[in-house]
């Protein structure tokens, strides 16, 4: 139960924090979306590593298959769904970026929101 044996969890969390930092701090909206994808990937990595076991085999039942050595297939199935969701969110986000760029001519959030204040004031 030490960190060395569970380093993949630590890697996932570090990636998660890098992604969150990018989403929050970067001013370029495309970079924000990249950050979003890094966050997603970190969670996928975390989930897949839950089901991993050292020297495991593919979970296919049949003659001679040893169920005690199989990796857990459930997290992988979840990740498949998660990837589909992530792709659709990214596609939607990028299409919004195209619309934003057409209408504002900038990808910089601080400029997008400065205009908002001017319109309100």
């Amino acid at each position: 139960m030490n960190l060395w044996h569970n380093f993949h969890y630590a890697v996932a969390m570090v990636l998660f924090c890098i992604g969150l930092y990018t989403v929050i701090m970067r001013r370029n909206i495309i970079k924000k979306i990249i950050g979003l994808n890094v966050m997603e990937t970190s969670v996928f990595l975390f989930l897949v590593s839950i089901g991993y076991r050292k020297g495991g085999i593919a979970p296919i039942h049949g003659p001679g298959a040893d169920p005690s050595r199989m990796v857990n297939p459930l997290p992988q199935a979840l990740i498949l769904t998660g990837i589909v969701v992530a792709v659709s969110v990214t596609a939607l986000a990028l299409s919004l970026v195209i619309l934003l760029y057409r209408q504002f001519g900038t990808l910089d959030v601080s400029r997008l929101f400065r205009e908002e204040e001017e319109e309100a004031g």
């Binding site: 975390f46 997290p75 919004l96």
Partner: protein, 496 residues
């Protein structure tokens, strides 16, 4: 339940989804038929729901195995009375907002995108219905994502610059929170090895990984706080809800955030259960404090708004605080108040947004001071607004009074008098921002030329849904005794 009845809950969810898939074909054949056909799907779904009435035991639940796979291996729907009640609320309000859209949306959305609007609308209602009754926590995530993606797209559907910007802001806060939900589910799975809620409830008490459970619950609550726009994480809401087309604002404000707030209760009570209060207690206390802050912050901000729809959006932030304060009282009365508040807040808020839509449709007015003297030209809309505002404030005999009564009662019973006082202050703030508009509408002379002297209200196709909602606030206030006993029993069994 036996025979065909046991399939009704899943039919209620899949019918609007099927409708969403069919709409492009309907549009190809006859574009004018799209609103009516999509309404038909929701009507059928609602009728199936009415057939279920009385068949759901108030103190238990009806399970449905998707594809016949036995839980905990397959996905399961668990329809308890609270879930069924919310499913009907979602279905009813969606139907009225959909009917309202028919005339309204052609003004704001260009021709080719109208079908897309209805497709997304049906997906949104179907996913919300699934969201409140699912018994599998990963399935909850999937429904939540359908809900989230369709609402991002619906905020941006008009395609004008402010709408796109608001939708992007919504996505930038919504998407990380969705990822955090997945992270929370992953943590929960790593500690327990199951995704079925009933199975989780049994295993959460036994597992030794207490820290993992605490982390998982905190992450899930934080994520759903963003989705439900609870105070410090509300930043996306005012823009998204005020800029979306009015019937869509009604859906987003009345239902989407409220079912997300209910999801926190569902996770706290159906997954973590009372037996693990040691695990979740601190997080729930923090959540209650955030809820109390939301009630005050939302109410005060609403008073200072100049834009009519912006004011209603801030009022929503305040009301999400009410729901949170209700179920964190951890007694049946508080939980009943929270569930009933999802109903009456949904109805009243939807009605307010549809009234705002009527003003925008007829006059293009969005600012509050432009509403001075509005009753001369649009009396029906003004009266509907007044009735709904009555419920938002929580005055008898409206439905808002019933839920606030239970919320305050639940909090007092849980020895949380300060929170009960916050709820009452919230009602006073609501009175300030609602009566200001009522005063402007009925008792102030309008500016020269702002309003005509003859009555020229919104068309009947838009007034009818508006009035149906405003009368519903009275109906669910006067006839609340029909539902409250069952809701109290359902809440007690959730907390057992």
């Amino acid at each position: 339940m036996s025979g065909a009845f046991k399939h009704l809950p899943i039919m209620m969810i899949t019918l609007p989804m099927l409708g969403a898939a069919l709409m492009p074909f309907v549009s190809y054949l006859r574009r004018e038929a799209v609103p009516w056909v999509s309404a038909l799907f929701l009507v059928v779904s609602g009728v199936l729901g009415l057939l279920l009435a009385g068949r759901i035991p108030p103190d238990g639940c009806v399970g449905y195995r998707l594809g016949g796979w036995e839980p905990p291996f397959g996905i399961e729907l668990k329809v308890d009375f609270a879930g069924y009640f919310l499913m009907m609320v979602v279905c009813g309000i969606s139907l009225l907002a959909l009917l309202y859209s028919r005339l309204y949306i052609i003004r704001e959305v260009e021709g080719g995108k109208i079908t897309a609007y209805y497709v997304l609308f049906l997906l949104l209602s179907a996913s919300m219905m699934g969201f409140v009754v699912t018994g599998d926590i990963f399935n909850l995530f999937v429904f939540m994502e359908i809900l989230a993606i369709s609402s991002y797209a619906l905020v941006a559907v008009t395609g004008n610059r402010n709408a796109v910007r608001a939708a992007f802001k919504y996505l930038l806060m919504g998407a990380p929170s969705s990822i955090m939900v997945l992270l929370g589910i992953g943590l929960l799975y790593s500690a327990t090895g199951t995704l079925n809620m009933a199975d989780l409830a049994a295993r959460v008490g036994e597992t030794g990984y207490r820290e993992v459970l605490i982390a998982s619950f905190a992450v899930l609550v934080l994520a759903f706080m963003v989705k439900a726009a609870i105070f410090p994480l509300h930043l996306w809401l005012p823009d998204a809800h005020s800029i979306a087309p009015s019937p869509m604002s009604a859906m987003l404000s009345g239902l989407v955030v409220a079912v997300s707030a209910f999801a926190i209760a569902r996770i706290a009570f159906s997954v973590f259960t009372v037996h693990s209060w040691g695990v979740v207690g601190t997080t729930l206390d923090a959540l209650a404090a955030a809820g109390a802050a939301a009630v005050l912050f939302g109410g005060i901000m609403a008073i200072y708004q100049r834009d009519f729809k912006m004011m209603i959006a801030y009022s929503t932030i305040s009301h999400m605080g009410y729901i949170v304060l209700g179920f964190t009282a951890l007694n049946p009365e508080g939980l009943t108040g929270a569930v009933y508040h999802v109903l009456d807040h949904g109805i009243a808020k939807a009605c307010l947004f549809l009234c705002a839509g009527n003003f925008i449709y007829r006059k293009g007015y969005r600012r509050i001071d432009q509403l001075k003297g509005a009753w001369r030209e649009m009396p029906w809309t003004c009266f509907a607004f007044a009735l709904a505002a009555w419920s938002v404030i929580g005055l008898p005999p409206s439905a808002g009074f019933i839920s606030k009564w239970y919320l305050v009662y639940g909090n007092v019973k849980a020895d949380r008098v300060p929170y009960a006082v916050v709820l009452l202050i919230g009602a006073i703030l609501a009175a300030v921002y609602c009566f200001r508009i009522i005063y402007y509408m009925f008792f102030q002379p309008g500016e020269e030329g702002a309003w005509r002297d003859q009555v020229m209200d919104a068309p009947a196709g838009m007034l009818a849904p508006t009035w149906a909602l405003s009368l519903a606030t009275l109906f669910f206030g006067v006839f609340s005794y029909l539902f409250l006993d069952s809701l109290l029993k359902a809440a007690a069994s959730l907390l057992a």
